[in-house]
Amino acid sequence: MSFMQEEKRPGKKKIKTTRVVNGLDVEEEVWVDDLEAPLFKPREECRLLGTRMKRVDGPAKLTGAAEYTSDVRLEGMLYAKVLLCPFGRAKVKIDAAPALASKGCVHARQLVDETKYLGQPVAVVAAATPELAEDALRALVVEYEPLPWVLDRGQALAEGAPEVRSRGNLGRPTEDGDAGEVEAAFAQCAVVVEQEYSVPVQHHVCLETHGTVVDYRGGEDAIVYCSTQSTHGIVGDAAESLGLRKAQVRGIVQHMGGGFGSKFGLERAGTLACEISREQKRPVHLMWNREAEFLTSGNRTGAWQRVKAGANKDGRMLAMSSDVERYGGIGGGSHAGLPYLYSVEKSLRKHASVYMHLDTNCAMRAPGHPQASFAMESVVDELAAGLGMDAVEFRKRNLNSPAHLRQLDRVAELIGWNEHPNRTAPGSVDGFEAVGIGFGCSRWGVGGSPVCQVDVRVMNDGSVTAEVGSQDLGTGTRTYLAAIVAEELGRPLDGVQARLGDSRMGNANGSGGSTTTPSLAPAVQDAARQMRGVLSVAAAEHFGCAPEEVVLDPDGARAPGGKLTWLELCALLPPEGASVRGTWQSDLAVSGVACTQAARVRVDLLTGRVKVEKMVCLQECGRPLNRLALESQIRGAMTQALSYALLEERRVDPQLGIALSADLETYKIAGSLEIPEFVALVDDDDLREGVAGVGEPPVIPGAGAIANAVFNACGVRLRHLPLTPDKVLNAIEERKSS
């Protein structure tokens, strides 16, 4: 080998070592892991990473042993509850004295004089039991003076409408693009589609509602148990509400029943609990009920999207203009913008918020993206149909990333597109039922954040812990925290105890934007590799060899000089054991993951019911850490997208000013019988060494794919989610009569 062409292997280095050959010492060069370079082991060498690992907290969750915030019970704890305003908007006058006089009630007060949105909390009570707190709520004497409200677009934009905010109910539009250029591009198009697409407000529907339990009894320290996506993020707000310093407050998030973007802070339930606890010097438990969850905890922005798009006869999209209204209640709403994902040569867009007396939107699993994707995937499909072009082929002509091109081919194959009769023209509305296939694509930025600090400790009795103040939202963070360390140290998965969800542990970012894994896993690997270095040095001293020559495997440590069991190896450590702290490594996190989905539906042409029979998803994720968790994330996202497509919609009565869907009876989400055959695949053609989170990308394209599949089945285009049977049936009847 010429030294001019020095070979390089990622994560490896060459060292000189001495070997005895035929009684002679021979010096030779060998490749060993570079203990200074915290890369993951090569995929083919891994025992744990990249396999399907059951979550380490599965048994605790299955048996009910896992303690969620709502489960926390403390001696002397008070239960707090809130009263919600039943009107779109009202002045409020409350006599709290009868509540305070009711049995067990120690705290009752009015929260606002005038509400800003439907369902706003107007009073809070705290009592010795949940039932006594309910009684105290009933005992409040409340006078409402309803004020004019605006709960839909028509009311908000009507002449003389009551103002949600001082600058009017229509926000100032943002516009970009050159109208002249776009007009000229439309003139070159062989097909032009101009349509309106709408999506309703969707709820997060976390299984665990928002809530906090505060353990404060006066004095200098408080523990705040919170259902949150950010263990470290709640400490400041809690300290302020408790009148303490940040260093006096400890946040605990052991198990989380989902957040989906709605739980980044302490939230209203948490500040109220802290305020009551501060006053009473007693622990306080305050969990939202489902009604409060649906009316006051944020949601996915609704949107109305007027889109005009055109393509030339070769299927290239040349022009698009879009006019989008965002419905984010008292908030501005969120929308990812059009064109979305696909490249269009010239585009013009206009966005504006319409404000209403409903709670503000907030982040929700790919905020703003599913809305834009639904309109974009629909219009893409309409253009393909207008040209009589295969929907997969049309997409490939308008997507730039090689990942999407190969994913489309694979997904098309897995869903049965190549044998499907309706590839260039949809089926008919005759007969009893029709089967169709639709597609959708997405991309997500991901990227990691450099804040995580992971502590790995090995005791001289062989016990191992990995800890960081991050949180596991139910996604499997705890499992890879243990697995990465176990992989590097040659331990079994249950040989490492993962600890998280405590703000006294090392720093971690909030779980949003699918960034938990690319922020945390590199720091875990860094710590794991450092610990391997520490153990290798200890073993090397024992064997009299170089640290790099030590191999850690399930049997313990081995080197040219001999073997040690794991316990023997750890016994070499000092009595206090060894500890290291890992930090973020940028080359272990990837940015940008592509996702492609397909759905096959069966449309009942007599009742309009759409049954999704199969969904396929191929998702890039860089290097997969735990396939089971990844597949579970992808299935969950597809379930949520299916539910968005077919069932979910916040409903209010704008005339009466009341909520119509503030419970799970009237706001239906997909149940087990709606779940199709899922094919959830990690894209193994993504060979990047870094890791990515995939909570968000697979939730984006599903609704568009399902609507496209309905069109493909029977030629009816549904442009307004959810695709309820009445809309489907109306469209079928329209097509029959045209």
Partner: protein, 282 residues
């Protein structure tokens, strides 16, 4: 403050129900929902779940007697019910989820009298009779006369449903049940239809079709029945009966569906169910 009473005999229960504002409960699956709202608590609840007089399923002169406190889970599991009235077992399996079926009772579903109550059209189609007890004695009411207006039944204040009598069913009795909800399970009906008839060749005799969620009360679809009764059943006739059904109901728009959709789907459901009686399109 709500007082809960747990009588151990029918006469004790009737005495307890004589009190002002007293309400009878068994599974509490409706009452717990209603009483969750502030200021909606009942003064006295009378728990009927321990009354031996209200429990069980047994033979009754060729037909069946079903106690009012029988749960839907018990209906589902009862061999007698499954053999003789398969649509009763089928219907019981569509009420809520298993937890609800374990608690909710036949009598509760009738007394709650929701127009969307899934059991009600079944009792109507099967020509059931309701056994009612009061302090002044007991009486029987044909199911057709049980529901008088929106959430209003033939029960007088202080009266209790003791049980239901289903007339004898032979093997020629064709029974059909179909529920259309927002999703496949755990959904309140948009349209629910039950049908019973005796098949003679290509004709249906003694046809009874009843529907829920399409009017303020569960209703018999008499116009549809009259078209089909004793006539050779053809696809055209079945379709005409479906349309007749759609014309004779008065559904509303609500959070679950629209009046138009309910009419439309009722027509198609009735048509399908009729043709299914002859082994046709299901």
């Amino acid at each position: 403050m709500t007082v809960a009473l747990r009588p151990t005999s029918l006469s004790e229960a009737l005495d307890a129900l004589g009190a002002n504002g007293a309400v009878a409960v068994a599974g509490c699956t409706d009452l717990m929902v209603v009483d969750h709202a502030p200021a909606r608590a009942h003064a006295t609840v009378v728990d009927l779940s321990r009354l031996p007089e209200l429990r069980g399923v047994r033979e009754d002169s060729g037909g069946l007697w079903i106690g009012a406190a029988t749960t839907f889970a018990e209906l589902r599991e009862s061999k007698l019910v499954r053999e003789r009235f398969p649509i009763v077992a089928e219907m019981a399996g569509t009420i809520g989820a298993l937890q609800i079926q374990n608690r909710a009772t036949v009598g509760g579903n009738i007394a709650n009298a929701s127009p969307a109550g899934d059991s009600l059209p079944v009792w109507m189609a099967l020509d059931a009779e309701v056994e009612i007890a009061g302090r002044s004695g007991s009486r029987r009411v044909p199911y057709d006369e049980m529901h008088r207006a929106y959430r209003e039944t033939a029960l007088a204040p202080g009266e209790l449903i003791v049980g239901l009598r289903l007339p004898a069913a032979d093997e020629a009795l064709e029974q059909r049940f179909r529920k259309v909800g927002t999703r496949a399970a755990q959904a309140i009906s948009k349209v629910v239809v039950a049908l019973a008839a005796r098949v003679h060749g290509d004709e249906l005799h003694g046809l009874r079709i009843a529907a829920g969620s399409v009017a303020p009360t569960p209703v018999r679809l008499r116009a549809a029945e009259a078209l089909v009764e004793g006539q050779p059943l053809t696809p055209d006739l079945a379709a005409a009966a479906g349309l007749a059904a759609a014309r004779e109901v008065t559904p509303i728009d609500d959070v679950r569906s629209t009046a138009d959709y309910r009419r439309f789907v009722l027509a198609r459901t009735v048509r399908r169910m009729l043709l299914a009686c002859q082994g046709g399109e299901a």
